[in-house]
Amino acid sequence: MKNAFEAAGQYFEEAASVMDLSPNMKRLLLTPEREVKVQIAMKLDNGDIATFVGYRIQHNSARGPMKGGLRYHHEVDADEVLALASLMTWKTAVVDLPYGGAKGGISVRPKDLSPDELERLTRKFVDEIHDLIGPDKDIPAPDMGTNAQVMAWFVNQYEKFHGFNPACVTGKPIELYGAEGREEATGRGVGILTEALLRKFRKSLAESTVAIQGFGNVGTFTAEFIHRAGGKVVAISDVSGGIFNREGIDIPAALTWVKQKGSLAGFSGGDAISNESLLSLEVDVLIPAALGGVLTLENAEHVRAKYIVEAANGPITPEADLILRRRDIVVLPDILANAGGVTVSYFEWVQNQQYFRWDLNRIREELEKTMTRSFDKVWSIAEEKKIPLRTAAYLVGIGRVGRATVLGGI
């Protein structure tokens, strides 16, 4: 994941130099407002004492309460969390949500813990940070290694200190003030913007071929959206490997298979293909929806897709980005492409604040409105200034945060 956040810094620098920001203004925009590191000591099921380190980094609140995921992963450290927190600041600004940016995490292998242990870990973490977060301060959400169940424990523990407060986290289960459509939101947003991007080139999903790397939450919902829109998903993959079918993969069958078996291993809807060769398939659209740093200096020359939509955070290294730029391959950047998740998180928070529930149709409509409006803005700036979509997205984000900072003063 190192690549992902080094990239974030580099892309910020690029936009900042286009804007001719002074070193002091860059420092003001990059320095986090608060970094918290806490000890989480707990008893394991076998009676041993285990100690973990948890982080919450609040990067910028110029535009509103800070928003960002909470990840459980053994490689979580302060540098990574800070980079991802700043990414959230630009992301919420690009899609114009009234939020700032934050991120948190615990350095732990969640698969090594039992459900009981995960619950105790989550509650202990809330005990340590509950004073620093809240619906008007900083609102966590699920991320790598966490899910709706973790959010349910989180809100339950938070309410022990602060009373009824469902808006203190998003991505909750529907039964506990969660929003319809939150789970599908990131993938759906990726699908919506893939279609919007193709439309700019007078093409449509229905006449396009797509390869998706990653068949987890984002990948599956992206594939489903594209399949329903008539697009031909010719390749999918997960950690167990990939499938390629020139005639198009039977996505509903693949979804059922994964739901039952837990992975794509053994799915027979096409020829086996490696994750690496999926990236160089001759398709219209390539959607990396798994890990960061998969398109690098080594393989960027082999990409044969015309468009790349970054569903994952930072799947393209900055060196690879330059190569793709030179080769005129259009890249829709992560801070815009995968902002559907935080957008529906915002809808969930709004509903919690209003004690009012929207139905799925309304959420989908509002999501589409937010995503396409943001895309159109970024697209028109990229056209006007003759810059890549990524730089344009950062310009929009930095500009909005900058204006809020200027208006509020320091």
Binding site: L21, N24, G399, G402, V406
Partner: protein
């Protein structure tokens, strides 16, 4: 007035022989000023060297907005007026008596006479003044380097304004 020995202890008159020192002292005029009175006015020009015999003075300069900035404080033995002395130019700052002050002045007119009759003595005074001024210039250079090294100290206001106009004009989407 003052003794020849004391006069040659001041950097400006260092190295003068007893006879030349006595000649200079003879040409000098002693003047007294009350506290808070102005000795030299910024912008006006009197071509003379001034030596503080007793008391203290401040060197002040008017800022653009009319406020006064104290540039330095002068004590017994300090010499001022060198810049206008060597070059016909208005005083670059105002000298004000901080306490009651006693000074003696040595005019350029007397100096020019000395130069005609005792060029060696005049050369001595001139090179001393040059040394004083070059030392001051060196201090200024160091000060400017310091300012350049930390631009935020002098340009903070501009920086904020520049950022404000950038995000509200070119980068206002």
């Amino acid at each position: 007035m003052i003794s020849a020995e004391k006069l040659t202890a001041y950097p400006t008159f260092e190295g003068l022989g007893p006879a030349d020192a006595a000649r200079v002292i003879q040409d000098m005029t002693r003047m007294n000023f009350d506290a808070d009175s102005t000795i030299l006015h910024e912008g006006k020009s009197i071509q003379a060297l001034w030596i503080i015999l007793s008391g203290e003075c401040t060197v002040v300069r008017q800022a653009e907005d009319g406020s006064e900035m104290v540039l330095a404080e002068l004590r017994v033995g300090d010499v001022f007026g060198e810049m206008s002395f060597v070059r016909t130019a208005p005083h670059s700052a105002t000298i004000r008596a901080k306490t009651s002050v006693s000074v003696c002045t040595y005019t350029r007119e007397d100096f020019m006479k000395l130069a005609a009759e005792h060029p060696g003595a005049a050369f001595r005074i001139c090179s001393n003044i040059a040394a004083v001024l070059s030392e001051r210039l060196q201090r200024m250079d160091a000060w400017i380097c310091q300012l350049v090294d930390r631009p935020e100290a002098v340009s903070h206001r501009d920086e904020w304004q520049t950022f404000r106009s950038a995000v509200y004009s070119n980068w206002n989407f």
